[in-house]
């Protein structure tokens, strides 16, 4: 299926130009650091790509804090960014005006404990990622596929993501994207993100009782979040794209899911 591979590759290669700046409140040196630019893969997580950002800014903060500081946190327009969401999801959720580059503020102090989680190490990212993949497989195949994979396959998924290696990742991920005995997923792993709300996730089968495919529109109707006559007010974004509402959910799940195996759908105000 050459056509599929092209779509998967296109999604994998989605990148966002990000401009990092140190929080002005934390600037200690008189010389101001240059902004730091990264072309960030949509599919990855911030802690996997921000080591250089941290090193770039750390010499400009108070020496006492430099010594203790092991972790940075990121903010966009006053809102702390959740490191455990894929970068593409964070962008789609927040950056509704699509002004590029995406301007993000870097903080070393005043961690917003109530709003975001700490990221103690890269292995925390790995645990979170693998756990999300497992959750997705619990929904798709009652965990059968992930349980049949070997430890080295799990490693390969993670290394594929961490090192931006499409072939390595998909070598294993294709097994997770295959149907089970009844030839389809049991439930579709998706999350619906809306600003300032917890994500929405309920059980949804890929097929309706009538035997027809569930579409993106059907899903939004079922969850009672479809915009009926106010269609102009809300945008639906999946991987930065507004797919046609009649796209089947199963197809979207197989092709537009993030590496964590979840279809992340963002509902944003226009």
């Amino acid at each position: 299926m050459a056509e599929d591979r092209e779509i998967l590759k296109e999604i994998w290669e989605g990148k966002l130009p990000v401009c990092f700046n140190l929080s002005m409140d934390e600037l200690y040196t008189m010389d101001q650091p240059e902004p730091y630019y990264i072309l960030a893969p949509r599919q990855t997580y911030f802690p996997l790509i921000t080591d250089k950002v941290q090193r770039h800014f750390i010499k400009h903060i108070e020496p006492g804090i430099q010594e203790q500081s092991t972790e940075i946190w990121l903010e966009y327009e006053g809102k702390p960014l959740k490191w455990h969401y894929p970068i593409g999801v964070l962008f789609d959720m927040f950056n509704t005006d699509t002004l590029l580059p995406w301007n993000i503020t870097v903080h070393f102090q005043n961690f917003p404990e109530e709003e975001i989680l700490h990221c103690p190490s890269k292995s925390a990212v790995e645990s979170h990622f693998m756990s999300t993949v497992k959750e997705a497989d619990a929904l798709k195949h009652k965990s059968q596929v992930i349980n049949n994979l070997q430890k080295k396959d799990h490693r390969q998924l993670w290394t594929g993501l961490q090192n931006d290696r499409f072939d390595l990742f998909w070598g294993i991920n294709k097994k997770l994207m295959e149907g089970s005995n009844d030839d389809t997923f049991k439930y579709v792993p998706y999350r619906i993100h809306r600003q300032d709300k917890v994500y929405l996730q309920k059980l949804v089968k890929p097929m309706k009782d009538t035997g027809q495919h569930m579409t993106l529109h059907d899903l939004l109707i079922q969850l009672d979040i479809a915009s009926h006559d106010e269609e102009a007010k809300q945008r639906v974004l999946v991987q930065g794209i507004t797919p046609p509402m009649e796209t089947t959910l199963l197809w979207l799940s197989e092709h537009f899911s993030y590496p964590d195996n979840f279809l992340h759908i963002c509902l944003v105000d226009k």
């Binding site: 989680l117 756990s131 497992k134 917890v198 309920k202």
Partner: protein, 125 residues
């Protein structure tokens, strides 16, 4: 968790972990019936060498988060700060601390209960 854990009666300094929201139930008994309906049942099961909880089934507000449950259990089980505690759904994955119980209940409950296994070391991968 609607019931008061036993140790909070004799240890006055140890109140409930009460993060952002207030626990309405404990201070407003008049609302008890209305609140009861919206609560979900959570079953906490120990795995490996984790200590067993005397009370296993709890009624919990669905908007409470996994992090809150872990904090509650650490106090209930009198864990030291250095002891780790891991929670698992379906004996397969460990939900992130900011996930609401209601969401997990919607997707992974069986027979009207959300079963969470807990252990001291990482299990199931």
């Amino acid at each position: 968790m609607s019931e008061t854990p036993p140790e909070s009666e004799n240890q006055s300094g140890h109140s409930f972990p009460a993060p952002t929201h207030t626990d309405e139930l404990s201070c407003r008994p008049a609302k008890l019936d209305a609140d009861k309906k919206t609560k979900i049942d959570v079953l906490l099961k120990s795995a490996g060498d984790a200590p067993i909880m005397k009370k296993k089934k709890w009624a919990v507000d669905p908007t409470k988060k996994i992090g809150w449950v872990i904090e509650f259990m650490r106090k209930y089980l009198k864990f030291e700060p250095e002891d780790s505690l891991f929670l698992y759904v379906n004996q397969s994955f460990s939900p992130s601390l900011d996930v609401e119980l209601g969401t997990l209940y919607d997707c992974f409950s069986t027979d009207g209960k959300l079963v969470l296994h807990y252990c001291r070391t990482q299990a199931w991968g």
